[in-house]
Amino acid sequence: MTSELVRLTVAQARRLLDRREVSAIELLEAHLAQIERLEPRIHAFITLTPDLARRQAQAADARIARGEATLLTGIPIALKDNLCTVDAPTTAGSRILQGFVSPYDATVVARLREHDAVFVGKTNTDEFAMGSSTENSAFGSTRNPWDLDRVPGGSSGGSAAAVAAGEAMLALGSDTGGSIRQPAGFCGIVGLKPTYGRVSRYGLIAFASSLDQIGPFGRTVEDIAILLQAIAGHDPADSTSVPVAVPDYRAALTGDIRGLRIGIPAEYRVGGMDPAVEEAIEQALVTLQELGAELVPISLPHTEYALATYYIIAPSEASANLARYDGIKYGLSLPGETLLERYLRTRGEGFGPEVKRRIMLGTYALSAGYYDAYYVKAQKVRTLIKRDFDEAFARVDVIAAPTSPTVAFRLGERTADPLQMYLSDVFTIPANMAGLPAIAVPCGFVHDLPVSLQFMGRPFDEATLLRVAHAYERATSWHTRWPKLAVEV
């Protein structure tokens, strides 16, 4: 039987915990029961950590009894398995990290521990976060809780599916080209990619260092705001984290967006878009207008080049970052007669097909004779993409667009054609190229599958994104729907 406890928001759970009507242990056990019931069908996790979670829940109960609880004390959270943890393996969805246990915690993990949050497990991901469906995991695919024949999106598909199914109340993921927003959209929950530099990446396994960012998943905008508050802020251990003040994100949830100027980019209506998705987005824009926002037509003329630019820059950075997996320092190591042979065998057998493809692509783009034509050229186009946004944000406060051109696709539908798979990130990649914060919120259903609306904001202005997403959420009821299997008794 499904416990009502797995359907609470963080604020609701907080009230029950603080009034001692429910203990952190009870809250955890309800989630572990949900996990036990649903994991055989969903497979959101690579590693479950029930023993760790029980110890953390006990510590949380003790802290609550002392009257020292924070908003996250005792809240069950799932961690994407590319975030380093000292007390559970970290695989990044790859065979090449076999047996690896990090000697240190990621900063975001350490910060959550300070709250006595509860870690239920490490979630499935496309290998090294390279993918849009979680099908590239070395540990098998995750299924979408709304339809088990469909993908949850990716690469943070495990985190999104876990939260959507009530296996965790919150989750962390990472977003390099849409890997938080697209799965949040496919699974009907809220996901936020913070501004590049807003959240420390110390202990996040690197994919593309000029694009990667850690961010929260939740079932409501307020839940996301609470988790972002806990992880945002400067960290000396990450030299790309920016020392700027972190505002009170919950205070931004005023419900008032009268006069807010929302840019509607002409270029985000591309061919190949599901007309029913387009219709749902149109409806959402009408709602925003009714709430008093002003819709402003804008142009981001270089949008059509963002995908191509991304698939040069991200693989180039990845090919350098993944050079560290050499069979010497950690993980898989296959013997060879010479050092070179060890490298070739370990990397050849340890990496999966998509990771190899991207390493090859990146190595090619960075190699002598092609560097200027591909890598430097892509960096210049990146400048043009960023300038488009700079100009737009001189006129508008946020930009609204679909999160993805389609709803969740079927497992296996796009695995044979890498380019087809890449196209599902066409609307999310530009925010990474420009380093902007962006949030995905549920905005409807098509064939019983969730549709998602994306807002992009000015650098470090997550507060406005949360405000507009929250106002929209309050005016609609999409976020209150649950996948059938998550609530069946």
Binding site: V242, G327, I328, T363, K377, Q379, K380, P418, L419
Partner: protein, 97 residues
Amino acid sequence: MRLSREIVDHVAMLARLGLTEEERERMREQLSLILEHVSRIQELDTEAIPPTAQVIALQNVWRDDEIRPSLPVEAVLANAPESEDGFFRVHAVLEQS
């Protein structure tokens, strides 16, 4: 545009990726298609445009050069496939004379 087999072999060696015969052929097909798609950026005139490597305003980030505790050696080497006397153990790189 179709990548030659020589280029695929050369890039695989640069990347230290041991690929099977079948993988090399598939790579040739797939990379050719992807490169064809990404090559569309060539149509843009970027003569006067500076490249963007990263988007934040920070330039260099310095800290004082103070001695601080590092990660415990045992904890780090616990992950190493082979270690000896507090070091990673690797195959000889230089040949003995």
